[in-house]
Symmetry: D2
Subunit: 345 residues, 4 copies
């Protein structure tokens, strides 16, 4: 097959940029036209990532001309970069998938509360939220995708259909999420050092994490009412993987089979969703893959539903879902380049 589509990556030196490389270099239909990194311009990618020596690509400075020559551009940059550049690309007809949070929150006041003032509120309204399985139709024709956060992806996939179908109460949702350290990115802080995380586990961001408004915005949409949840993230002593344990209240008369029936109806045909009965999934079962696996239990036949949901934060939680969205936007088979089998050992 010839590689028909030209792709740009802005911000290629972090962990989501690296993961985009891992997926796109093997993708049968796309070609990386430019990978931009101000700090590493001129360096071969294998100087930063020695395992990629078979791929003779070089980091370049951000080059608008090369970016506008692309069919699609990924932003794997810190917040506030994409919102300054995406408008021009979109105007030039280039499709954009932003892996940062810049276009995730529709309400600019909320955005400003959690991040900063938004510099392109007009474009923000046109951005399409890229949780693929829940928003596929809009993604097909989108020019700009706000790729979802890692925690929100693991949470919405099991929860959204249950709220939409009215199987659970909209009050009393508690979400206890745990993430591998790669989710914190490659920034140099004491908290990211090996010795601080090895053999260690802790809650963080309890008073408020930036993914909370994203979770509430999207769940409210599916419930068709304003929803507030309690969301507590934790840091795991491992590199990849998110597990979210979600506690919610069943509406009267709802049984476990109803839950599974709704999930089956919604997801039976989905390539990247694993509905697990009996044993909750382990993060290793989706490591390196674009898959989300989840299970449900009603402990002790009481009224609480416990969902356990796992993803690889760098794949379905970031770069994998970004590629999935790219496939859809470019009219390709959605699973292209995403057929990885997990490294179970």
């Amino acid at each position: 097959m010839s590689k028909n589509f030209l792709i740009g990556i802005v911000g290629g030196t972090g962990y989501t940029g690296l993961e985009l490389l891992r997926l796109l270099l093997l993708h049968p239909q796309v070609k990386i036209h430019t990978i931009a990194s101000r700090s590493q311009a001129g360096q071969p990618i294998s100087d930063i990532f020695p395992g990629l020596e078979n791929y003779p690509l070089f980091f370049e400075d951000v080059n608008l001309k090369k970016l506008t020559a692309c069919d699609l551009v990924f932003y794997a940059t810190p917040h506030e970069v994409a919102m300054g550049q995406a408008g021009e690309l979109v105007k030039a007809g280039v499709k954009v998938v932003d892996l940062s949070a810049d276009f995730r929150l529709k309400n600019t006041t909320v955005f400003e509360h959690w991040y900063c003032q938004h510099s392109d509120p007009e474009l923000l309204q046109k951005a399409v939220y890229g949780l693929t399985e829940l928003n596929r139709e809009a993604i097909k024709t989108a020019q700009l995708i706000a790729n979802p956060g890692c925690y929100p992806t693991s949470i919405q996939l099991p929860l959204a259909p249950l709220l939409y179908e009215g199987l659970i109460e909209t009050k009393g949702i508690f979400i206890d999420s745990k993430s591998g350290v790669s989710g914190a990115g490659k920034s140099l802080s004491v908290g990211n050092l090996y010795t601080e995380n090895d053999e260690n586990f802790r809650a963080y961001g309890v008073a408020g994490h930036r993914h909370l408004p994203e979770i509430e915005q999207e769940l409210s949409h599916f419930a068709d009412e304003a929803i507030q949840v309690t969301f507590v993230p934790h840091l795991l002593p491992m590199t990849r993987g998110i597990e979210s344990t979600i506690y919610c209240q069943l509406k009267e008369g709802i049984k476990l089979t109803d839950i599974y029936q709704v999930w089956q109806k919604k997801y039976a045909q989905e390539d990247f969703i694993s509905i697990r009965e009996n044993t909750p999934p382990a993060t290793k079962e989706v490591r390196g893959t674009n898959r989300c696996a989840f299970s449900a239990v009603i402990p002790q036949q009481r009224n609480t539903l416990v969902i356990s949901s796992v993803i690889d934060n760098l794949v379905k939680g970031a770069s994998g879902q970004a590629v999935q969205n790219m496939n859809i936007m470019l009219g390709l088979d959605e699973t292209l380049g995403l057929g990885q089998i997990p490294l179970l050992a």
Copy 2:
């Protein structure tokens, strides 16, 4: 100082037995009189634990005569061993601390549901539950201590005073606990292998874990009403440490300062309790110590209280608390032998 008290350990080859050795060998007032292990009888302890070569002890077969010569005997055995032997020791005037679950559940029907038929229901009623800070008076005169489970210890210490003082609702308590792999013991199963746990995280026992009835029994006691909680344990890719994130509903008008006031009142004088404001504690901060550290947050000023509580599962969650109870039962300073500073790095 002369070492005045003779101590026996039954079941010294597992991880809680090993941890008893680590603590008791340096304890200034006790001497290990016999350490029993059927499978290793005759072996020097340093054959099993090479780091203990300075201590010339030998595993022995279980020897009732030597055990009855002790002032106090620890059972660090699988379930069903202590309930068959403790009676005889107690009759002989020997104090017993059982680290297994044999004497934790007062209701024999409940015990049978989760474990097996109880072989000494009479003795069961005399056993004193050994969560030291919550039951110190009874421990002082106890002949037989049911040393608490690891998860229940991390949960009750912060929760019990809040229930007792009526600050939180007795309904709607969700407990999301995470434990290092040493909590699963040294048994040979695929689930305990290195490769199965490294870089992996998973929920387990969602439908029902044996610590659930223990948690509910004790919390009900403090709330003075029957309490049901949702409890989900998880397995962490590390050796030691438990973190429990607890979600509960504040009674009307209760503020965060009320929570901290109750904790201060209850625990300000306690040597092994760290009340943390602001940042939730990390498990590493109590590693190797007998300490329990916890914090509270009311996220987004809504109505839910989020507690994060950490212990070392092998110390405060098992052998350390057992030694703390021993100190009390023998009339010693409660902190003797328990002054460890954590290995933060």
Copy 3:
């Protein structure tokens, strides 16, 4: 592409069997016709490996009829299984790749010293040693491949050409190898438990490891004289990866550029060999891939050459090299199904 070749796997539940599944299920030209496991016969593979739920295969009992219907059969069994079964398959015209040690040592006396009496010495003489880059021509027409050990693979690839070309002394070779725990397999022993390996590192098998005679046999072949080496393996607190640091003496007048020149001449066209200048490779750079990467340094301009060589023990050290050999034996492109990019994060 239609999948043209039928493949059998005997012993599919261990880590090398699992890794064969990971590679073969995505291979474009082969189809798994039977996967045999006595202990799990009748179970879907996803019951043992939940991440493989998209692949509706079932473990079967060892079935000679199904095996003889295959084009090629892999043995991913403990020692002594393949030597009892391979003869019959070979007679039936089935190609066999044995991942165990049964056919690696040509000298039956040596084999018996390290393992047991060999039950098929005749077939042993026909077996071809499957270190692909060093033995490709013989592999093309082989009926039975003795797939190399993991340590020997990491050692021979850099060393063999240097011995063959006479650049280093044949005496004074010291090999210090380190392996992830998956190399020890999935057997239930205390030494394989999580808690025994986490945060731990140790030498083992110093007095003699079964890979020593394999290393000496093969290096002697390339040096054209009997070679004795010192080989010490160690166990790393991680799942995958081997690093071998090799110390050897340069022959008079040999410079670092000579070393690299020989490597370039031998390996420049090889798809799975990375010759690294400057920085020694890290195991993560080959994780999940069939690649071997190595570097050379002459510290302080003295006379000792230090080689650092890395592989993924489950891929190039076992199942990946087995698939590479399969590709050659079946007349396929050698790289088919082996194009993985490492999980650098």
Copy 4:
């Protein structure tokens, strides 16, 4: 016991400073008079190290007056700090233990080659090398101790007596060392990040590591001739622990029993040395302790001796040995405050 000696620590926020705190806060005879950190002056130590909340100490600016009031001052600073300050303290009669490399190399030309110009060459000549078991007499009367490097400690303890007694050849010594990540300190670099080290292993500093001249200087001293060794350090995916595997050539006629006899003669009375027969020691067996454990094997009855030596890099490899030296310098029992039992699980 009253705490009779006043101690100062300069540079208390790194991992060796933290480890000094862990050891000294429980030491029965010393009191920390000042702990200096420019960056954290005014902060309680528990703000940086939350596990130390029971100890109400505050970081202070470096205060010469307070330091000169101390009996002994530790430097746990980066290189180049101690050499600028120690002279003044020594003049004031304060004893100094420098954990950095500033006073380890006697030859200023060598020092300059590996570090920088030495600013106090006169004092350098008076410094006593603090490898306690090998230099105890000189330490007793020293004013200034150059505390040894971590790798050199693990290497010299087993090797020095063999060289001194002439049991091994002085040529052909190969040292393959592996260290936990805490050895690299707390500095913010990509190489120290969690994700870069987790599930990873690599050689580094092959061309030349700063501990090489220290090792050669000291071994030459014991051999009474100039010795050159090959030394290759590696980085382990764990926090604490060093293992050095040392390959050397036996002099003619020397047997394994001769090796053990020399070690027994030298070390039988030592509290912190474990001579292991049979199985090589694991790093976990000395974790958190001031112990060095080592074993010797002559593989295959050939002529090469293989030594495996383990220490905890932060204890015997740094702060523990510093406290051991302090005890000697202050006329205290050498083992005071150093009786820890390892965390085997």
